[in-house]
Each structure stands twice: as structure tokens, then as C-alpha cells.
């Protein structure tokens, strides 16, 4: 008997007890669905973290000004400006394994070019920023040290700004205005796409730190050296934690904070934050793994049980098959194929259900939905193996039947 015929006759045996078969499959269905959902959610969350880390740059810590107590009221991060670009330089100089330490001030403003205007994010910063973010140019150049020092009115624009402000024409060397100040475009950044939170990272204009303070925000940079954030890039992931400790100590000393005073800044390890985002996903994954494991076990036992019932019910049929020339292995494979078919159908239904559930959860949680063909293949394989494993004992019982006793059985 060809395999195809064997499967067809297994299907007809399964179909003869459709309801019973469906109930038997339930365990496998739920188990496989849970496996699929688990893998999809797990890899979706991991993908999100990976893309987050990738788009931010690896091994980053961010220092934000804040947590200052004013008249007993604790203000949130960034509420006051205790950080300065001198702090940033000190971190670069004194903390070990620091690759870059960028000062950053961000604001929103309108950019105008030949009657077109575009509201965008203005980031005033220094060269360390581009190192920290691992972000390169598409064309043009970065700021010259001299331009940074003198606060010249030059700008590097993101892809989105280039498209919306300059259209098809080449933005390099063009002049545009921010708050009536004419800026010259010296560079266009490479496209970086959306951040993990869905922000368009290319919708940005970079200007030298002091230019931003003086011309756009309107501060006297000679007196006010404050920055909103300092972005620190470390040489390796292992260097982040000790680096952050050193940074804290350094900044406390620089800010003259005494023993019992709280920090007036907050240091965040971005890699760690990204990783904690996976914690929830991984909890869910473990839950699903537990459900999957239990369901698959119960499903497998269900299949074993129903196959034992089936062998008992069809004892005479087995006896007859043996009488007309079936070998033990023919009977064994018949029942194994039946169990495997049952399990595989359950697996297929489970996959459909799992994809549905994973899509729902991914949409709800805002994760990318990741499901690979390998996952599906593995799920089908696992359900088939469950059929073989749990079907083996009943099938062997069937194959070992004595033909006479089997034929005589009522």
C-alpha cells in the first residue's frame, strides 16, 4: 500500500469518528497554537529590541538633567538644566572606555525654503553625536571643529527634511531659514527610517551646539552652557555598567553634591531599557511555553487513548487483515499512520489558530509580527512526532494481536 493510500484510509478512519477525532485533536491544536504564538511573540519582541538597539546605536547610555528638588517639589527629568557640555567633555576625558560623549539640545522649529515650510526637530549637538549614533552621511560633510567652536550657521539635514523642503533639487549648498536665521546645508544624513516607537528619525535638522543655543533657542552660550542630554557611547557592552558608575561619581563631584543629596541627573542604560522591554514578552512566552508543553502532552496522551480505543474496536478488522496476509509491520504502520495523521491535522489547525492569536497579540502590543516558515515546519514536525510517539504503543498492541483471538473477539 502506498503512503498516499495509507493516509487516505487513515483519513477515512478518522472521518468515521469525526467528533471523537476532533476532540482528541484539541490538545494538539491548543499546544501547537501556543507554540506558534510563543515563537511569534518572542521573536517579535526580540526583533523590536534589536531594531531599537540598532537604530539607537549599541552600548549607549543617556544622561538627562533633572530630579532637582525645588522648594520640596521634585521636578521630572529634564525639568532643569544642571548638565553642561563641560560635563560631557569631562565624561569623555575621565571615564574609562568612553568612545563618544555628545551634548544634545533638542527643540522643534519651522524651517523655510523658497516658500516651502516644514516643521521639524532641531538637534543642536557636536561631532560625538554621529559617532554615538553610528550614523553616517548620504552626501556632503559633517561639521568642521571650527564651525562648532564659532557657532556657525550651517546645518546637516535628514532625508525627510531634504525631501519635504527641497523636493527633487539638490539641497547641498542651499540656504534655508530657521526662525529667520539663514542656514547653509552642508550635509545630508543617510536614511535611518522609523524608530522602534514609530518616530521618523530622518525628520531632523542638525546644527552645531552653540549655533542652536544662540540662534534658535536664544540663550547666551557664554553664560549658559547647559544641555538637555548627554549621550555616552561605551566601547563594549561590558563597559557600560562600570562606565555608568564612574560617570555618576564624576558628575556628583562636578555638581558638588554632598553625601545625602540625590543625583540631579539620571543615567539610563539604553540597552538595558530595550532589554527590559522584552521581559514582559518573555514572561508571556514562558506562559505560552508552559501551556504548549502541557497541551501537547495531554494531546499526545489523548491520541494514545483514542488509538487504544480504536485498536480495541477494530480488533476483528485487525484479525481479518492478518488472515488475508498483512504482516505485523503492516498493521503497525497502519495505526502509526493513523495516529500521525490525526496529530498532524491537529497541528495544522493549531498553526492556523496560533497565527491568528499571534497576529492579534502583536497588533495589540505593537510588536512586529514575525513568523517564519521554519516555525511552521517545526510545528508540523513536532505534531507528527507526537503522533508517532504516542501512537506507537497502541499500534504495537494492534500488530501483536493473535489473529485467531482477534477474529474471535466480538
Amino acid at each position: 500500500m502506498s503512503l498516499l493510500e495509507a493516509i487516505r484510509s487513515a483519513l477515512s478512519a478518522i472521518g468515521a469518528n469525526a467528533l471523537r477525532s476532533a476532540l482528541t485533536m484539541l490538545g494538539i491544536i491548543i499546544g501547537v497554537a501556543a507554540v506558534i504564538a510563543m515563537v511569534a511573540i518572542g521573536s517579535g519582541a526580540r526583533e523590536r529590541v534589536d531594531s531599537q538597539i540598532k537604530s539607537l546605536g549599541a552600548n549607549l547610555a543617556i544622561i538627562q538633567a533633572g530630579n532637582v528638588t525645588q522648594g520640596g517639589v521634585r521636578l521630572g527629568a529634564g525639568a532643569s538644566s544642571t548638565l553642561t557640555d563641560e560635563d560631557a567633555k569631562a565624561v569623555a576625558a575621565e571615564v574609562e572606555d568612553v568612545v563618544a560623549s555628545a551634548s544634545v539640545i533638542t527643540t522643534r522649529a519651522q524651517a523655510v525654503y523658497a516658500g516651502t515650510n516644514w516643521s521639524t526637530t532641531i538637534t543642536a549637538t557636536d561631532l560625538d553625536f554621529f559617532t554615538a549614533r553610528e550614523w553616517g552621511l548620504a552626501e556632503g560633510r559633517l561639521f568642521e571643529p571650527e564651525e562648532l567652536r564659532r557657532g556657525e550657521i550651517v546645518a546637516i539635514i535628514g532625508q525627510t527634511v531634504a525631501k519635504n523642503l527641497f523636493g527633487e533639487s539638490d539641497p547641498l549648498g542651499q540656504m534655508f531659514r530657521i526662525r529667520n536665521v539663514p542656514f547653509k546645508v552642508i550635509g545630508v544624513m543617510a536614511g535611518k527610517g522609523q524608530s522602534a516607537l514609530g518616530q521618523d528619525q530622518d525628520d531632523v535638522i542638525f546644527v552645531p551646539l552653540d549655533t542652536g543655543r544662540r540662534r534658535i533657542i536664544g540663550r547666551n552660550y557664554a553664560r549658559d552652557r547647559s544641555v538637555q542630554t548627554i549621550m555616552v557611547k561605551f566601547a563594549s557592552e561590558a563597559a557600560i555598567a562600570p562606565g555608568i558608575e564612574q560617570t555618576r561619581a564624576l558628575l556628583r563631584q562636578r555638581h558638588r553634591l554632598v553625601e545625602d543629596q540625590d543625583d540631579d541627573f539620571i543615567v539610563r542604560n539604553l540597552t538595558e531599557i530595550a532589554n527590559t522591554a522584552t521581559a514582559a514578552a518573555s514572561t508571556l512566552s514562558w506562559l505560552l511555553a508552559a501551556v504548549a508543553g502541557v497541551s501537547l502532552l495531554v494531546g499526545g496522551i489523548g491520541i494514545m487513548n483514542i488509538m487504544l480505543v480504536s485498536v480495541t474496536e477494530r480488533t476483528r478488522e485487525i484479525g481479518l487483515r492478518l488472515a488475508v496476509g498483512a504482516r505485523q509491520r503492516d498493521v503497525l504502520s497502519q495505526f502509526l499512520i493513523e495516529a500521525t495523521t490525526l496529530a498532524t491535522i491537529g497541528g495544522a489547525v493549531g498553526i492556523a489558530l496560533g497565527i491568528g492569536a499571534a497576529t492579534g497579540i502583536a497588533r495589540f502590543a505593537g510588536w512586529p509580527f514575525v513568523i517564519s516558515p521554519q516555525t511552521i515546519l517545526v510545528a508540523v514536525g513536532v505534531s507528527g512526532l507526537i503522533g508517532v510517539f504516542f501512537g506507537f504503543y497502541p499500534a504495537r498492541q494492534a500488530a501483536r494481536l493473535d489473529p485467531i483471538e482477534a477474529l474471535r473477539r466480538e
Binding site: L320, L322, A326, R327, Q328, P403, L407
Partner: protein, 249 residues
């Protein structure tokens, strides 16, 4: 050389309640081409004998050669092959698979002979035609009368062209008219060269065999030959208004 050569064959069951000797040393030869009726009271060992001859059971003593093969030397796969190629069984309870049609039932022995689907179908339909059921090939057992079901079972037994047909009370579940039809079929097959051994309680049935072997308490007590009655002639005489399905050549 006889087709069946049985020497001192015994089958003893070891039960908790003691030993039961179902067959106590039977010696018997059956030549190819014979039609033998096995008779005897209930419990006399007829079925036990048939099961041993049919290679469904192994003896506890003695020797059995089928078509010059010492059966006790064969493995379980070897026995399966023997049952598949050389033997055909017909049971009192028909033993058809209820879920599939007559044709698929007849195909079953060929499935285990490893024949492809097309050949199987062809031969199954031929065998069904042979027993007068060409028009019932796609009926399920449930949709057939007892006599028709037994004829499907006979077609199944014949389909691998066995040397030996073993029937354990094949007419036990049928009325006398239908029984006669089945006997006519056996006689036809026997005339064509198939060796037939059938077990029966019914002296009327045994009348149609050329040789009658009687069992009692696991032993052969009589082995007689007779001029057999012709089942087809009896049928024709009995009722000319409803003609029998003719056996096709």
C-alpha cells in the same frame, strides 16, 4: 504429494484451570483438488484444526506441510506471506470491513501482496463478477444481504488465486437456499481446481463434499468418501422461476 500433509498434529491450551487438548494428534492428507467437509460436535476441534491448517495458529506438537513447505519453520512474516498467496479464508461471520465497499474489501489481500491500485481494482471486479456480484461492487457490506456478503468474502478469498480455500461454517449464518448457492459456488471453484475444506455441522451441507472427515474430542474418528450431491442441479430443480446468478467463466 498431498497439498496438506498433517502428522500427529496437536494443539493444547494451558489454562489456569488446567490443560485443554483442543486437538490431540491428528494425521491427515488432503490432495490438491479435493472438496472436504469437516464435521463433528461442538468443541471437537474443527476450528482448531482449520486455524492450524490456515497458518493462523501454531501447533503445540506434530508436523504440518502445506504444498511441501514445513509450516513450523516459517517466521511470522513467512506465515503472513503464505496466508496471502496460498490460502483463502471464508468465515461464518463474513468479516468484511464495514466502512468500505465490496470492491475495496476484495482488494484487501492484494494490498498486502503489493499490487498497484489499478491491477487490484481490475482483479477485484473480476472476482466479484465471478461470484455474480458485478453490479454490487460499490455497495457497502451493510447494503448487501447475508448471502451477498458471503459471496463478497468468497471473492476476497479467491482474488489472489490461492491453492486452498478454507471455510469455517460458511453457511452457518445463511438460510438453506442461500447456503445452497454458496455451495454451488464452492463446487464450481473446486471443479476449476481449487482445493476446498469446509467445516459444517449440517449433514445436508456435507452431502455436497466428496470426502467427509469427522472429528470428536480432538481426534479424527471417521474419514469417508461419497458421491457428492450437485448443488447447482438442486437449485435448478428447487426453483426455476428465479435463476441463479450464473458463474462467469
Amino acid at each position: 504429494m498431498p497439498l496438506i500433509e498433517v502428522r500427529d498434529l496437536s494443539r493444547v491450551y494451558d489454562l489456569d484451570s488446567g490443560r485443554v487438548t483442543a486437538l490431540g494428534g491428528v494425521s491427515l492428507d488432503i490432495e490438491a483438488g479435493e472438496l472436504v467437509a469437516v464435521m463433528g460436535p461442538s468443541g471437537s476441534g474443527k476450528s482448531t484444526f482449520m486455524n492450524l491448517v490456515g497458518c493462523l495458529d501454531r501447533p503445540t506438537g506434530g508436523h504440518y506441510r502445506l504444498d511441501d513447505v514445513a509450516v513450523e519453520t516459517l517466521s511470522s512474516d513467512g506465515l503472513a506471506a503464505l496466508r496471502n498467496r496460498k490460502l483463502g479464508f471464508v468465515f461464518q461471520q463474513f468479516n468484511l470491513l464495514p466502512r468500505v465497499d465490496a470492491c475495496a474489501n476484495v482488494e484487501l489481500p492484494m494490498v498486502y501482496a503489493g499490487l498497484d491500485g489499478k491491477t487490484r481494482r481490475e482483479r477485484a471486479l473480476n472476482a466479484l463478477a465471478r461470484v455474480g456480484l458485478a453490479d454490487r461492487a460499490h455497495h457497502r457490506p451493510m447494503q448487501l444481504s447475508g448471502g451477498q456478503q458471503q459471496r463478497v468474502a468468497i471473492a476476497r478469498a479467491l482474488v489472489n488465486q490461492p491453492r486452498l480455500l478454507l471455510a469455517d461454517e460458511p453457511t452457518g449464518a445463511l438460510d438453506s437456499r442461500t447456503a445452497l448457492e454458496i455451495l454451488a459456488l464452492f463446487q464450481d471453484l473446486n471443479r476449476e481446481g481449487v482445493t476446498v475444506v469446509l467445516v459444517t455441522h449440517d449433514a445436508e451441507v456435507a452431502r455436497h463434499a466428496r470426502r467427509v472427515v469427522r472429528f470428536r474430542d480432538g481426534h479424527v474418528i471417521a474419514d469417508t468418501r461419497q458421491e457428492p450431491a450437485d448443488a447447482r442441479a438442486a437449485l435448478a430443480a428447487q426453483d426455476t422461476a428465479t435463476p441463479l446468478p450464473e458463474a462467469a467463466e
